[in-house]
Amino acid sequence: MVANIPTTKRLSDLKPGFSGEVAAFSNEFVAGKLMTMGILPGTRLVLVREAPFGGGWYVKIGNYSIALRKQEAACIIMN
């Protein structure tokens, strides 16, 4: 659930168009916030696009879209 996994598959390192399943979170504070918005381990998400001026991601979870910053995306470990 919350674990220190090497940062090889952080969401922030992936390219737009990537689609995959959340494995874990590397930061408990961010985990708490993401989970209240419905991003949990096992959730499938799609990296839709980067924000026009960078710094943020447009992420889709099913029919639900959210924007998050790279720092938060870096805490999401993907399968």
Binding site: E28, P52, G56
Partner: protein, 717 residues
């Protein structure tokens, strides 16, 4: 609360209507339901201690019973990310809290049921009567979502109503469900989530301190002990002690609780819900590929902003002309009916002039709020926040700050109130501090009157009006000042608080005009009533200060002016103007202006401008009215005549024109930068909970204004 006139006399409980809380996640369509239930019978206030907007209203059921409905801010869970969400915890974690409801209506978007049940499952553990409203039944139908509401109701052991706030379907069933809460049918057995060993111990020990709490509420108090307002310092210390003794780690428990709840309701949702699971390209996906596009996104944003400001100027000018005409007629009417005297003078030059000064802004404010709430309602504002988050971060702001900065173009007060969705205190504070730099609608008449003295009315490059460009330049100057000031604060203010942006991008929806209409109505009403009070008082005070002076001085000045007029054989109008000018010079207002003249002379301002500056510190929009009163022209709000009179104004000593290019430009700069709005300062005080920030804001804005005006005037002369 007393509602005797509405209650049923035969029943003793009817003196206090049943209080029902309307709760749900952001973007669940809660306000549509609230607006449909209460219409314009809403009261807008604030939750105690904070400026989070509290909307409430009474709903009359078919049997005549009245239910009091409170619309809470949207929240994702009992673990708040912003000031808005804190209100929900604060009001529900303690049965003794203000606004603790008798029952709850929980709204969930049926198309996002798997995400919207977290808060529901937490609310369930409060053991209050609860009704689950599944909103967006129209969208569900369109998308082929099939739902077994009977099974859902049986599993959750709550009444379930499928409805649509947009179309109004299901509202009969909703009212029936509310009526049944009243008669107690809705309350039913529910097994709360099992607390873990640590939570259980903490819960019991907190309950020993606060015996009104149920076990889950006690856990919530332990989680949020640091900020809950109703705990005194002894209670806080005791609860912190319990937390550390029991090894209660808030974040750990929060994550565990959240996972546990999802584990319970996710299988249930899958059981009752059938979706046509094909990943088709929705309208929102297609729109966003353009609207949040790397290049097209920002361009479209600026095009929309240009349209908004174009609309304000183009559409508002007609109703504004009618309003001015109406006030001129009223003034003429009063002057014709009432005999000349101090009462007539107070009515026309004081009260009517003041009222006209407020009402004339209503069209611009209404149009701006209409367009802003339209952008919000269709879901565009969240995209703007997403697009500009990186840019805003560079200036120490948050993507959400863009909403405040845009709204600041209408009025800084609602703009500052909109910052409560920004979770990070430093980002929120900086947004609050710099938003008043954005040129608000109250500056428009000042700019209109003065701009002609700075640039000539002509066309450049074939299509552009030079004055229009100068106008835009003033707006850009305000934006630049806001961003630079933000940068300065970013360096000065220190915080260890984590900054984040977790923003839901809701699906684009065609706006519900009822919602937009109600917002516009409320904002305009608040402006007229709140700003109106200030302006009216200032107008009357100004009128008194300008009409009366130290004993004997005004009479002496009048006599001297009359003698001079006779000597120089002036025509009647010139003589009248001279007398009026000399009278105001001898009045209390004149003395006040003269007193500050040495301080403002380096900026190119004389004592008459000084009076306007003093009154403008109450509210900028008083400027034109003050000018009109000082130059004693009949119609106070006719900008053209004020302008003409100002254009002719000469310094009596040197004989030179007062409104030279240098003075006018200096004055314009002063109005762009200076903090001249008492209402804004009051709101900043309330939002930041201290006098420190409004005082700092006042000093740096006005200091910058003085400096800019000083440099401009000295360089230009």
């Amino acid at each position: 609360m007393h509602h005797h006139e509405l209650g049923d006399i035969s029943s003793p409980s009817s003196t206090r209507p049943l209080t029902v809380a309307l709760l749900g996640n952001p973007n669940c369509g809660k306000s549509s339901i609230f607006n449909r239930l209460t219409g314009l019978r809403q009261k807008v206030g604030n939750f105690p201690g904070v400026t989070v907007e509290k909307k409430s209203g009474n709903l009359r059921l078919d049997d005549g019973q009245v239910v009091h409905l409170i619309d809470f801010p949207g929240a994702y869970s009992f673990y708040p990310n912003s000031q808005d969400e804190r209100i929900v915890v604060q009001s529900l974690a303690n049965p003794k809290a203000e606004h603790y409801p008798d029952a709850i209506l929980y709204v969930a978007d049926v198309t996002k049921l798997d995400k919207h049940l977290l808060l529901f499952s937490q609310l369930r553990d409060l053991n209050l009567p609860l009704v689950l409203l599944l909103n967006m039944s129209d969208v569900a139908e369109r998308d082929g979502i099939v739902l077994d509401t009977k099974l859902l109701a049986a599993r959750f052991k709550v009444p379930v109503v499928l409805l649509s706030g947009r179309t109004g379907s299901g509202f009969k069933a909703l009212k029936l469900a509310i009526a049944q809460i009243k008669t107690g049918v809705a309350a039913s057995e529910h097994k709360n989530r099992r607390l873990n060993a640590i939570e259980k111990k903490v819960s019991q020990r907190v309950q020993a301190i606060l015996p009104d709490l149920n076990p889950y509420q006690a856990v919530l108090i332990a989680h949020h002990v640091d900020w809950l307002p109703y705990l005194d310092s002894t209670q806080k210390a005791a609860i912190r002690q319990i937390n550390s003794e029991e090894g209660f780690k808030s974040l750990n428990c929060q994550v565990e609780e959240t996972m546990h709840r999802y584990d319970i309701f996710t299988p249930l949702v899958q059981q009752v819900l059938q979706t046509k699971a094909e990943e088709k390209s929705t309208l929102t996906t297609r729109l966003d590929s353009v609207l949040t596009h790397r290049i097209a996104g920002p361009l479209i944003f600026f095009a929309i902003m240009l349209l908004v400001f174009q609309a304000i100027f183009a559409w508002a000018s007609y109703p504004m002309d009618w309003i001015e005409w109406g006030f001129a007629q009223a003034e003429a009417g009063i002057n014709a009916v009432l005999p000349a005297g101090w009462l007539t003078s107070l009515l026309t030059e004081g009260i009517l002039a003041g009222l006209g000064g407020i009402v004339v802004f209503v069209p611009q404010i209404a149009i701006l709020f209409f367009l802003i709430s339209l952008l919000e309602e269709v879901g565009y504002m969240a995209r703007a926040a997403f697009i500009f988050d990186r840019v805003m971060q560079a200036f120490g702001l948050n993507g959400r700050s863009i909403v405040a900065l845009i709204s600041g173009g209408a009025c800084a007060i609602p703009a500052i109130m909109s910052t409560r969705t920004i979770g990070n205190w430093k980002e929120r504070l900086i947004t609050i501090l710099v938003t008043p730099f954005i040129s608000c609608s109250a500056r428009i008449p000042v700019y209109t009157v003065l701009i002609g003295f700075v640039v000539a009315e002509r066309t450049v490059w074939g299509i552009f009006n030079l004055q229009g460009l100068a106008f835009m330049g003033l707006y850009l100057l305000g934006i630049a000042a806001a961003l630079l000031a933000a940068l300065v604060f970013k360096w000065i203010l220190k915080t260890s608080e984590h900054s984040f942006l977790l923003l839901e991008l809701p699906e684009y929806r065609s706006p519900v005009l009822r919602n937009v209409g109600i917002t516009v109505w409320e904002k305009v009403k608040a402006f007229v009533v709140e700003a109106g009070k200030v302006i009216l008082v200032i107008s009357v005070i100004l009128w008194a200060l300008a009409s009366y002076g130290p004993p004997g001085e005004m009479e002496a000045a009048t006599q001297a002016a009359r003698d001079r007029a006779q000597q120089e054989q002036m025509d009647e109008t010139t003589a009248e103007n001279l007398i009026a000018a000399k009278k105001i010079e001898a009045s209390y207002a004149g003395h006040l202006g003269k007193a500050i003249e040495p301080a403002i002379a380096p900026l190119g301002f004389d004592w008459k401008i000084g009076i306007a500056l003093i009154t403008s510190f109450a509210a900028r929009e008083v400027f034109v009215g003050t000018m009109a009163t000082i130059y004693s022209i009949g119609s106070d709000d006719d900008e053209y005549s004020v302008r003409n009179r100002m254009a002719k104004e000469r310094n009596p000593d040197t004989g030179q024109l007062v409104y030279t290019q240098a003075t006018s430009f200096s004055l314009l700069l002063f109005y762009v930068f200076a903090m001249m709005c008492m209402s804004t300062l009051a709101v900043v005080k309330r939002e930041t909970n201290s006098w420190k920030w409004p005082i700092i804001q006042f000093l740096f804005m006005t200091g910058l204004a003085y400096l800019a005006s000083f440099v401009a005037y000295q360089v230009m002369t």
